[in-house]
Homo-oligomer: 253 residues x 2
DNA sequence: GATTCACGGTTTGCATGGAATCGCCGACGC
DNA sequence: GCGTCGGCGATTCCATGCAAACCGTGAATC
């Protein structure tokens, strides 16, 4: 929850609300705000150097999207991780991406996949090995597939799902073999797509997503906490945030 | 944009923002706010007898959901109807509902469909003939199908789509034969579902939705306007709202 | 010791004021 | 007649004030 990035001197006409929104979202994704952590509007407003109005705008938006929840007259908290919900989101993701694959193989324009070929159909020596970066690339691979199918509404929904599961996906690439598998599976999916083999591409894509789901299903709150500590050993952690997700944060002063 | 329903004397602790949100949404669905109509926050606040703060909350929420758009320092407007977008939403709807059908036929629990049987598998003499009511029943039929599949996230997304296309669906049942067809098709879909015939149920459902899409594709802005006038001949219509969607509303006073 | 109850502080929810800015409208130049 | 520019009202966006409600605390009582 660092200060919001406001370029000094120049009065940007970007909304403060958007900046606060992005900041808090990033704080959640980067484990600076842990599930269950409680905070108040004034707290966020002080840190972001803005008033409560744009803060409330951002918080209510994040609430509608399922990241935060408001307790009546008693502050806000980060929604605890609901693994059943993640399961449902993975199912929905499979549905949307399989539909995109069907459409791609049936359609005529798959030139949009050229960029993916250049990224994923490369020799092993050129591969990315950084887990965090690969997580972003994985997101983009699947988003590009869906977007290439040409339905912006599907792409919009898929984007929302991608962000919701991002916090898990980050931990999907901590094992080196997952990186190898991801390259292999993406390459196979791409080849099947370019060959217009809808059935094979669908089966591969489904297996690929299910493998990711199986990995993240082994993630526990404890592992999330450890990942947080490993990633940001010097990150700001108040008394509330140091505790695991289910902890009841005592009132701050 | 009538006054927000606030029970007199008793201070409800329901948020004003929610009430304003629901009111404006209803105004859009009921053609009291036509696509392209412009208005200001103060205007809404005066009519709803609340301050601009909860009004802004509602407006920003409706903007995120695609119903409104804000013009910088120049007021708000109802998003013009984008028929290409409706097409995409129909496609997405097909994807979600077909996935639900697959899951329903594969699963073991279809007791949730009993209520639908009681509604749709009835003798013609007991059928509903009111178009508006049938539109609501049609919404509920499809929503129930999706909800019965057991994925709340899919149901949530599907609900949003349902609301987005509601303004079109209202006009889907103006012809009596569409009512007859709807009963027949819903009944056939239900029978296929109860027989666990996934392929047949899918084909029927797809054809059913495509038929609806074909009907609403014939809807023009002019017809929407006529429907508005027919439904609410005495509704409040200012100079801006009387014009079709593309009209540039002059500044109000 | 356990329980109840009242009180103070904190927080949200709403109202309102102020500043920047946008678009319109008319005057002005040509 | 036509284009350009400046002013002004209207509007959004942000800051701030205010009241109701909730939670924790601690004293008082059984």
């Amino acid at each position: 929850m660092a200060r919001v990035g406001k370029p000094r001197g120049s009065s940007r006409r970007d909304h403060f609300g958007d900046a606060v929104y992005a900041q808090i979202k990033a704080d959640i994704f980067d484990f600076r705000l842990l599930p269950g952590a409680r905070f108040s509007e004034n707290e966020v407003a002080r840190r972001a150097r803005v008033s409560r109005t744009p803060v409330r705008e951002a918080l209510m938006r994040l609430e509608r999207e399922g990241y935060l929840q408001v307790h009546a007259k008693s502050g806000w908290s980060v929604c605890p991780l609901d693994f059943a919900q993640f399961d449902h989101l993975y199912d929905l993701r499979v549905v949307l991406e399989l539909a995109a694959v069907q459409k791609l193989c049936a359609g005529k324009d798959i030139a949009a996949l050229d960029r993916l070929r250049a990224i994923w159909l490369v020799s092993p020596s050129l591969r990315v090995v950084d887990g965090a970066k690969l997580a972003r690339m994985d997101e983009e691979f699947h988003s590009t597939l869906v977007a290439a199918a040409g339905n912006p509404e599907v792409a919009r929904i898929h984007h929302g799902i991608t962000e919701r599961i991002r916090i898990l996906r980050r931990l999907d690439f901590t094992h080196p073999e997952r990186i190898i598998y991801t390259y292999r599976e993406h390459a196979e999916i791409l080849r099947a797509l370019l060959a217009r083999d809808a059935d094979r591409a669908s089966a591969l894509l489904r297996a690929h997503i299910e493998a990711s789901r199986a990995v993240v299903q082994t993630i526990t709150l404890h592992r999330l906490h450890l990942a947080h500590l490993d990633a940001k050993p010097s990150a700001r952690t108040n008394g509330a945030a140091r505790k695991p997700a289910a902890a009841r944060a005592p009132r701050r002063r």
